[in-house]
């Protein structure tokens, strides 16, 4: 059972595993693996807490209901699965600043958090704009031959590569 406690597996084993997992999500649940909608539903649920009623006036939440669904449970499962994997291999650690960030921008926590927050806003906004993320478009949609997903996935990386270059080579 040494493979369970290894810190890292071959990316191909992981990728093939995710591909096989997608067969089962379709056979058993008739659904693609996708993550970003769960965050939109959560945003709706949080807004509902503060506004009590009337959230249903938002057109978006009529189309994407603010409720716990299959995909929301999938995202919850990701947290648990990653936790189990990290604990099994001793790779779990509480960490504020990633190494590569610290190397370029130092170890001031608040600066990392401000940039991560700004990045999160763009990520959430862009994912819902494009109606999918690296999982929903990048893996699930591309394997369904969806042109929308191929364009999205390519643009995720175009935007990501540009911003990473700005951040790590232009700015410092």
């Amino acid at each position: 059972m040494g493979w369970l406690t290894n810190v890292q597996w071959s990316p191909y084993v992981v990728g093939i595993g995710i591909g096989i997992l997608s067969w089962f999500t379709w056979i058993i649940s008739n659904k693609p693996i996708g993550c970003s909608t769960a965050f939109a539903r959560s945003a709706g649920m949080i807004e509902k807490l503060f506004r009590r009623k009337k959230i249903d006036v938002r057109l978006y939440y009529q189309e994407v209901k603010p409720e716990v669904d299959w995909q929301w449970m999938l995202v919850l499962g990701i947290i648990i699965g990653a936790l189990i994997s990290a604990l099994l291999s001793g790779d779990f650690r509480l960490q504020w600043i990633p190494l590569q960030w610290a190397n370029s921008f130092g170890s001031t926590v608040i600066i990392r958090l401000i940039v991560a927050f700004a990045g999160g806003i763009l990520l959430g906004f862009g994912a819902r704009w494009a109606d999918g993320c690296t999982s929903g478009h990048g893996i699930s949609g591309t394997m369904l031959f969806s042109v929308a997903s191929w364009i999205s996935a390519i643009c995720f990386f175009i935007g990501g590569i540009i911003m990473a270059q700005v951040l790590f080579t232009v700015l410092p």
Partner: protein, 179 residues
């Protein structure tokens, strides 16, 4: 138990497997994702492409056997290209995407669990606010309907599967060779 609740449990179970695989792949880590965007570490692309190849072949066979009916997604340049670029900017600033952020939370990474998570929620909420102004405008600019690759290139599903498999395996081969 109600059928709907059983499906929620399946969702949780699939998520646990997915999160386990993401963590074992190393993509719950900022350094690995930024390494991909800086083109110094191709782990993310290796995982994604091998998942797409494996998933595609299986799904095509299962659809051919009549076990499943796969949907197609509508899209447009305004929606997918512009949304994709905005997403990409956020991807590099945060260093996680929505799925790997959830994995990073499980891995103990506190930048993901605090600022990253709240940022995604705020960003999703902002899109919901401006959505009525985008829906009939930019989101349908340059619409191509629910076009698929077989329709675009006027080839069969089987040909598409074979060509994509060869092309993606070749890309992986090049990455291994040059990397």
């Amino acid at each position: 138990m109600k059928k709907q609740n059983i499906q929620l449990l399946w969702g949780l179970l699939f998520g646990i497997v997915f999160g386990f695989l993401l963590q074992k792949g190393g993509v719950t880590k900022y350094d690995v994702i930024i390494g991909q965007l800086l083109l110094t570490d191709f782990t993310v692309v290796k995982i994604m492409l091998s998942a797409v190849i494996t998933g595609m072949i299986g799904l095509q066979i299962m659809q051919h056997l009549g076990w499943i009916q796969l949907p197609s997604y509508a899209g447009s340049w305004g929606k997918n290209a512009i949304g994709g670029i905005i997403f990409g900017f956020g991807f590099a600033l945060l260093g996680y995407c929505p799925g790997t952020l959830a994995g990073a939370v499980g891995n103990g990474f506190l930048d993901a669990a605090t600022a990253g998570l709240s940022g995604i929620l705020v960003g999703s909420g902002l899109l919901a606010i401006v959505y009525p102004r985008l829906k009939e405008g930019i989101l349908v600019k340059g619409s191509f309907g629910n076009m698929t690759l077989p329709q675009l290139f006027k080839i069969s599903n089987l040909s598409t599967t074979i060509i994509l498999t060869i092309a993606l395996v070749f890309i992986l081969y090049l990455i291994e060779k040059l990397g």
